[in-house]
Symmetry: C2
Subunit: 123 residues, 2 copies
DNA sequence: TCGATATTCAACCCAAAGGTTGAATGATGC
DNA sequence: GCATCATTCAACCTTTGGGTTGAATATCGA
């Protein structure tokens, strides 16, 4: 029973060049499906599927106007993704990594000075 | 012939909760494979595969020390991803979207005032 | 009413992702 | 040397992803 969360869907949707290109196009404004599909070397159906993936991730919103479907970019889900990444980055750069590096460095120095063997008595 | 670029691999690697958890753990410091795998309800082999995906995306670096492999977090690829997202966001918020909205608004107003039918003579 | 246009639905294909189990490799410690 | 531990390799299975083609649906324009 896989229950993918928002991040899963967002990042998965973004992990495809076609879909990123679609988003890029949409960032310039609302576009119809056919118009959107035109530059790609694949069937309209294929693009339609990509759009559904983007919709599932809520990165794209669809507005029906007669027979044409107008798609627009919704940046909100990307905020969450960006925030996750930033959290990782900061979590890494700050104290924890520094501390870890320091401890390792101490270990290395200690085991290099005490016994003549470079393979220290770690762990 | 699919030639996935960096972003593909990075985002694909991040689009899995197990792998994100692994990165989160690694952000707290270098860790052995077995130790890393322990909290997960899956085989060691499965985790090993996840690690390979993260390595392929260069989000994780492996350092062999005797029989144990020490893994560490490498944030660089995430920078590129974050930059792409930021570019999208800004590309969307600025002028282009504003212009598009403006034009649409004008269209809507024009078609709402001239004919009594709300369905305007658009396009 | 009718033909063209915009889009999806449905069925299928193939490759890749994520998982399993079992065996292989390689360092470690007596 | 030998059992043990850390890790990967190899083969397999099932689900999903990305693509195709062909038919269905719905709106438009005349």
């Amino acid at each position: 029973m896989r229950t993918p969360n928002h991040l899963d869907e967002t990042l998965l949707a973004l992990a495809d060049p076609t879909r990123r290109a679609i988003l890029q196009r949409l960032a310039a404004g609302e576009t119809r499906v056919t118009e959107l599909a035109q530059p790609f070397a694949m069937s309209l159906n294929a693009v339609s599927k990509h759009i559904r993936v983007l919709e599932r991730a809520k990165l794209v919103h669809r507005r029906r106007e007669g027979r044409e479907h107008l798609l627009s970019f919704t940046p909100k889900p990307m905020d969450e993704a960006a925030r996750w990444m930033e959290a990782q980055r900061s979590n890494w750069t700050t104290r924890l990594q520094a501390l870890d590096d320091l401890l390792q460095e101490e270990d290395r120095v200690a085991s290099a000075s005490a016994p003549p063997h470079p393979k220290g008595p770690t762990r």
